[in-house]
Every structure is written in structure tokens, then in C-alpha cells.
Symmetry: D2
């Protein structure tokens, strides 16, 4: 795999600033817990308002965090003046997301000039420690920031 070198020296500040503007992330109570070139982790604690009908994290919450973790991992490697779009993703839900905290860890698998492919894993923290609950393969697109498009 290619080395994952940021191309914009200001990449981390831009990424954190973009994340802060995603209002859904506040609604879900998420935080950025790890930010490295090509790797972004987003997590949130369980609360009733995130549950499906049996009291676990809803799959939509899992996919929201994972999609954003992948999108920002891709964004971290883009040149200045870029925005990121999710073209598509595919997610397998491997186990019920039953736990006190949900963690989405996104990595760039294959960076590209236009398209970047990411690999994202979802974990729940429960009594038995960290348990994988989902796996996502995602395609992101670099667009010019002026195009008015948006991550995730």
C-alpha cells in the first residue's frame, strides 16, 4: 500500500473544524478520539435515544459513525482546497451492537487522486471488552471545495 502522507500541512485543523460543523455528530453525542494521516476514530457512549427496539445501538448509528470515520480518513490525505464525498459504502453487521460505547475506526486502504477506498471497523465496548460488530468497505471521492459538496 502507498505511504499515507498528508498533502496539506493544515490537514488536522481542517478535519477537526469540518467534524465540528457536522451537527448530526452532536445529536448523536460523538467525539473524535483518534486522528492520524489515513486513520480516524469516532466514538459515542450509549444512550436510550440511539437504540433500536431491543435496546442496542441502531445499525444506522453504527453506519453513520463508520461512514464519517472513513470519509475523514480519506479527507486527511487530500490536498488543500478539497472536500470529500462518500460515493458508496457496503456494511456487514456482524453482531448486535450491545454495549456501553461504540467505536468506529476508519483507515484508508487505497488512496487515489479522485477515488479513495477505505476499510472501516465498528466495535462495541461491553463487559467482555472490545467486540467487533461491523465491517465496512467504502469509496470516497475528492472534489474541489468550491463545488459545495460535503463529507459523509
Amino acid at each position: 500500500m502507498s505511504a499515507l502522507q498528508p498533502q496539506d500541512p493544515d490537514w488536522e485543523a481542517k478535519l477537526r473544524e469540518s467534524f465540528a460543523r457536522q451537527r448530526i455528530m452532536t445529536t448523536l453525542g460523538t467525539e473524535l478520539t483518534r486522528v492520524e494521516p489515513g486513520l480516524v476514530e469516532i466514538a459515542c457512549d450509549f444512550q436510550e435515544g440511539l437504540a433500536q427496539q431491543h435496546g442496542f445501538f441502531h445499525a444506522g448509528v453504527t453506519s453513520t459513525l463508520m461512514d464519517s470515520a472513513g470519509g475523514y480518513a480519506a479527507f486527511s490525505l487530500f490536498p488543500a482546497g478539497s472536500a470529500v464525498l462518500t460515493v458508496e459504502f457496503k456494511i456487514n453487521l456482524l453482531a448486535p451492537a450491545a454495549g456501553s460505547r461504540l467505536v468506529a475506526r476508519g483507515r484508508v486502504f487505497r488512496p487515489g487522486r479522485t477515488l479513495t477506498v477505505c476499510d472501516i471497523e465498528g466495535y462495541v465496548l461491553g463487559e467482555a471488552g472490545e467486540k467487533i460488530c461491523a465491517k465496512m468497505q467504502q469509496t470516497c471521492m475528492r472534489v474541489d471545495a468550491g463545488a459545495g459538496l460535503a463529507a459523509g
Copy 2:
């Protein structure tokens, strides 16, 4: 395609009751707007708390509504004593979800004894009327309700 006949006479009440227990649906402000055998529609109005960084519906919100619309479309055809699990889904984000309302329309494409495949479309309502913004292909699994597993 097979005829889409409900197998449980009580299917609609069960479906609405399960939806009502999905707390995330309240958090996002969603409602069931159409319920037929093999077809379920879920919608929500735009609010700031559902936005990504440019003020459109976040892709995670779109995928949450679409995943649930597909899951419940599958569930509508299950025999009594069943629960539904999303095995996996794949979503293409076709256009920015910029509009005042988001609608997810899920249809059963291929019902099965264990696995059911659904086709789900996402629309935003804007000034120019209804515009498609996403397309999802999803695999759901029937499990015994006693197994403690959960839709979406």
C-alpha cells in the same frame, strides 16, 4: 417476483409497535408514512441536528432511514414469531440530500425463508419536487423472535 403476501395476520400492528420502540427514530424525528406488505416508507423533516457540515441531511441519517425501511419491508412478510436482522447493505449516495424532507422507500425484491433481499430508494423533497438521492441493496435475515436479535 413472488407475490408479496403477509404470513402473519397481525403483521401491521407488530411492525408499527416495533418501529415505535426504535428510540433512534424519535431522536431523528421520523415517522412511518406508508406500510404495505413488502413496502415500507419512513420520512423525516429537515432539522439542523441532522446535518453534515454543509447543512444537508447527513448520509448517516439517509442510511438509517433506508436501512429501517428495508428491514421493516422484509419484516412485513415474516411469519409470526419472527424478528428481522440486517445482514448487510450497500448504498450509493447519488446526490447531495439537500431539501426540507427525506423519504426512504423500501421494497422487498426477493423474499426468502431465511434471507430476504430489499431494494430501497432515498428521496429529498426540495423546491423542484422529489429528487432521488440514494439507492440501497440490502440483505435481511429472519430469526426466531426468541433469539433476542433486532431489526436494523
Copy 3:
């Protein structure tokens, strides 16, 4: 959906010429059975050399025909000087592909300047007539023909 208008008056000749150069299509014994703007159908008869271990069409054969049907459906709408690349696809295998003939029918679902999303269905012809055996959602990319890249 947008109207599916070809942009290159020479689209059909180009498409048939490109198909003729795909040597794998000869290896598998396929033929172009329907060519319209935004819709391409490819079919092949069963032969032992296309089988998996139980004597049905191998899923790889099904996905090869479906990928090409989608790629050429996209290609049919591209402007002159373009080539088509498959970015990714997702396929559900709905039923064993047991029959005397396999048909892949690809349609453009959402044309775009750079990315085009296609919907492809696979059918087998058996004693009971045409039966659906697979469903694919695919993302194709338009590139300049000079870039040296290739359909599906």
C-alpha cells in the same frame, strides 16, 4: 430519472466494437442480445466449462456477464472519446443459476458526468421459463479514452 440520451451518434458501433475485443466474452461463449441507450443485455448458453461443482453456472460467470452488461449500459451514454471503468459492484446471488441459458440485463439507474450507477439483473432460462438469479448495483466511471483504461 434523467432521460437516457446517447451523446455520441456513433455510440452503438463503438460499443459493439469494444465488446468484440473482450476476449473473455468469446471464451465464455457470450453474445450481445440487446443494445439500447442505457440498456445492454448479454447472454450465453450453458456449457460444462462454465459450471461450478454442482453443474450450474458459476457465480463468477454470472458476475462477469452482469458487470459487462452494466459497464456497456453506462458506456452507451458517454460522450465521444470516453472509456468506461468499473469502480465497484455489489451482487446478491438469489438462487442457483440452474438452466440452459444465462441472461444479464444492465440498465443505467443514474447517469452522471463522472460516475454512473447501474442496476443489473441476472436470469437463467430453465424448464419453468425465465427465473431471476442475481441482482447487482454497480458504479462506473467515465475516463478519457486516452487514459488507457478499460471497461469492466
Copy 4:
């Protein structure tokens, strides 16, 4: 991840015997190059008859090898009396498959009683050594061998 322990002492002989019955594998000139519990590698040399219109391996050949590599990786962990079905897969084509040999490496990511999720990578061997050309995420299903269903 769970330990990848075979449950059937006869797993390897069964796997090789099933592979030998996949006639498409002979048509494409493939061979099993690595067989371990939860990991299967399938490769083939380039020949004109496997090409797309620019003379590289056709994406359908890549997906055929990768689908089988994943299916057999899953099968290697199944109990006696089982067969394997591909439920669905999603593949990203990362680079043109230009090279003298194609290698598909399938690994079980998450084994399960009914459903198993695999991670498969595709490589081409060219002048610059091994280069990744595709990434697949696949869902396989265990069925009773008597059910008459078939791998990949």
C-alpha cells in the same frame, strides 16, 4: 476474531475435491496455490482468452477467482456435511489488472454458524512485483450438503 479451527478433520481433501469439480476453474486455467484453515489462495496465468478490450485480466475473471477464494476459505471451517453458498459480495477494482499472473487471497474475517464474512484481496504480478488490484467483502452461508447447493 475467533480462532480459525477446522471442525472437520477431512476439510482439506473435501475442499480440493470440490475445487476440482468447478469446471470453470479449468476453463480459466486456475490452480489452488495455498490452502489453510480460513485462508485460500487461487491463481492463474494471463492468457488472451481472459482479457478485456485492452488486454488486461477482465474484472469478471478477477471476481470469479476472488469469490471462489473467499467461498473456499469459509468452507474450510465448516463442519462435516456442509456446503457453501455465496450470499453476496462487493468488490472494488482498485487498478487495472495488468500483469502476467492474477492471485486471489481469501480470508475468513468473521466465522459464524450460518453466515461467514470474508475479506478477499486480488493481486497482479507484473514487472514491478505484486500489485493489489481489487478488494472484496463477501458473505457466505453454510447449508446442509444434502440441500444441493453450491459454492461460489
